[in-house]
């Protein structure tokens, strides 16, 4: 598995950042999650944090090295994160449950699986076109689907930020799943919050990210969105993934997972402000347990590939 990934989250013009982003990968699977805590409700960032953290924790436990059923993983993950948010509000005696949107994507065996609840989006960009984009769970989107308004009207509709489902809250979340989407080399997956997509279109994403180095292009796109967001600009976050063939020309910032141990998982939680490259410094040393596992894995590979 080989890919380039870059994530960034910014506070925009708000007082605090209620967006949370993270990615994690094992040898054979990649999980990316973007959650946008809802400002109208208390502790939006708590809900977003719980959702991201929960999905990351489960992924680290289950991706050894691949996920058995990615859609089932996402479904359970979303529902359990929803429950965890409610548990949190009960435990802390909150009058209302915090809420968050969530979009998450798993790529494994060159196939992408994603799911979302709310209005955080996933754009699948291929060869300069928007191959697909998630449909927001918003009334405006429903009106758009029914032909009551057009795209231009939707973009300025006063209720454009109102969503009818999310994680947390009193109703079970409505989750929309993608199709199984085979990935081609060069395909881009962009997961983002409304702070980004309301200011830059999918075509703009294509134009800016294109073949560019994601470490440079993502901040450019974020600058653009932040500027267009104006004086009351929302939090804005995105994770961009470029799927690659092995031995691409510019593997400088790409991640190659071939030599990772079966149970090894690397996780990068998003932080505020621009993030540097993936840091491995925090990785703990090899434990005795990991040594035993590595040896067992090598031995089973020897047995498997040995000639009779």
């Amino acid at each position: 598995m080989k890919f380039t990934i870059y994530q960034e989250s910014r506070v925009g013009q708000r007082r605090n950042n209620e967006d949370r982003i993270a990615y994690s990968y094992s040898r054979d699977a990649l999980l990316t999650v973007v959650a946008d805590g809802m400002g109208g409700h208390h502790h939006g960032e708590v809900a977003a944090q719980l959702a991201v953290q929960y999905l990351m924790d489960v992924f680290q436990r289950e991706a050894k090295p691949s996920i058995d059923d990615p859609f089932l993983f996402l479904q359970r993950g979303f529902n359990n994160a929803h429950e965890a948010i409610i548990d949190y509000s009960v435990a802390h005696g909150l009058s209302d449950s915090p809420r968050t949107t969530c979009v998450a994507c798993i790529v494994q065996d060159n196939v992408a699986y994603w799911a979302h609840a709310g209005d955080s989006r996933l754009y699948h960009l291929r060869r300069g076109r928007v191959a697909s984009v998630t449909k927001d769970h918003s009334r405006v989107q429903l009106m758009l689907d029914d032909g009551l308004i057009n795209e231009a009207q939707a973009a300025i509709h006063p209720d454009r930020n109102k969503i009818y489902t999310c994680l947390g809250g009193f109703e079970a979340p409505e989750i929309t799943f993608s199709r199984k989407t085979p990935m081609e080399a060069g395909d881009l997956l962009v997961l983002c919050t409304d702070g980004l997509w309301s200011s830059v279109s999918g075509d703009t994403m294509n134009a800016v990210l294109g073949d560019a180095n994601l470490m440079q292009a993502v901040p450019v796109l974020m600058n653009m969105a932040e500027q267009r967001g104006g004086p009351h600009g929302d939090n804005l976050s995105m994770i961009a993934v470029r799927w690659e063939d092995s031995y691409s020309d510019d593997p400088s910032s790409s991640i190659q997972t071939q030599a990772m141990a079966q149970g090894e998982v690397h996780t990068q939680m998003g932080q505020l402000g621009p993030l540097g490259r993936r840091q491995d410094d925090g990785r703990p040393d090899l434990s005795d347990d990991e040594i035993e596992r590595a040896i067992a894995e090598i031995r089973s590979a020897i047995d498997k590939y040995a000639k009779p």
Partner: protein, 317 residues
């Protein structure tokens, strides 16, 4: 940093069903022993023992690792596992086979198949410059079969050189020592930076490591072929980057080997990785092309007629 030599396990020492016969080689990170297994078969046992981090004294079996060095020691072990993992998945007649992997004496061991033979390095030394074109083509075409298998598993050897090419008694080559085989993912720990043999490592080995690819192993193949003609390693790539003194094979050995072989060697030794053959297959294709028979004939001609030929060539230009 001064590196103390580690004491090798003594002949006759038995553990995990293997009995040490003698030491075969010692490197910066490991010691390789010839041993016999429970069924009396000869095997090569590679012991992870980085000289800069672990110290084993006279009469001891367990190395002592200071707490300060423990993280690096464990990190290096991870790389050793990567080598094991890489090799375990490969099953190819031209790639050394891993038979077992175990933990003992506070470190880890990899058991590999051992066969009678000698390294290409030994052969080059013995025949200094007298290797035939047929031998070179034969060895390297088959070696590239093994390397192709390695690359098809998305691995790079990264330390290809004549001493890592083992020749069985029938001259079929086997790729050994994948100690440097690791991917860009593993960032280099300063204590465990792989030490490359000058002359065989590509320019990307020294700088721009993100450019490492099959073409980097191909540079090493080219350098090894050059060594077969010259009897010693070509100028190291990092020096060549500063000032290139390497005489192209075409200029140095013209007339002694076919132009096509010499051109192929020079092709592999391009400093710019994009100008080299990009895959083992491309190089193999070049090496299996039959050279012009007239070209081969000049090889047998005496030095005098070679000289005359050269004058003739020059005068007709």
């Amino acid at each position: 940093m001064a590196q103390q030599a580690n004491v090798a396990l003594v002949p006759g020492f038995s553990f995990e069903g293997y009995r040490i016969e003698r030491q075969l080689s010692v490197g910066g990170f490991s010691i390789v022993y010839l041993a016999t297994d429970g069924e009396g078969r000869q095997v090569a046992v590679k012991e992870y023992l980085p000289a800069s981090l672990a110290l084993r004294g006279e009469g001891e079996t367990r190395p002592s690792v200071s707490s300060e060095h423990l993280p690096a020691f464990r990190y290096g072990m991870k790389c050793f596992f990567e080598e094991g993992r890489a090799l375990a998945r490969l099953s190819h007649p031209n790639v050394v086979r891993v038979l077992n992997f175990f933990r003992a004496n506070d470190t880890v061991y990899m058991v590999m198949a051992y066969e009678e033979g000698r390294t290409l390095q030994d052969v080059i030394h013995k025949h200094r410059g007298k290797l035939t074109e047929k031998f070179i083509r034969g060895v390297f075409v088959r070696l590239l079969n093994g390397l192709r298998e390695v690359h098809s598993h998305k691995l790079l050897h990264l330390d290809l050189k004549p001493s890592n090419v083992y020749l069985r008694t029938d001259n079929t080559p086997v790729l050994i020592d994948f100690g440097a085989a690791r991917q860009t993912l593993a960032s280099d720990s300063p204590m465990l930076k792989p030490m490359y043999t000058p002359g065989f490592a590509s320019p990307e080995h020294y700088q721009n490591r993100e450019l490492l690819g099959p073409w980097s192993d191909i540079y090493s193949v080219g350098a090894s072929m050059y060594a077969c003609l010259a009897g010693n390693a070509p100028q190291a790539a990092d020096e060549r980057m500063r000032k290139d003194h390497l005489v192209p094979a075409m200029a140095r050995f013209e007339g002694q080997f076919s132009d096509q072989l010499l051109e192929t060697i020079d092709w592999c030794l391009c400093l710019n990785h994009l100008y080299r053959p990009q895959s083992c297959f491309a190089l193999q294709k070049a090496l299996t092309e039959t050279p012009d028979p007239a070209q081969l004939a000049t090889k047998r001609a005496s030095w005098l007629s070679q000289l005359v030929d050269r004058f003739r060539k020059n005068s007709t230009r």
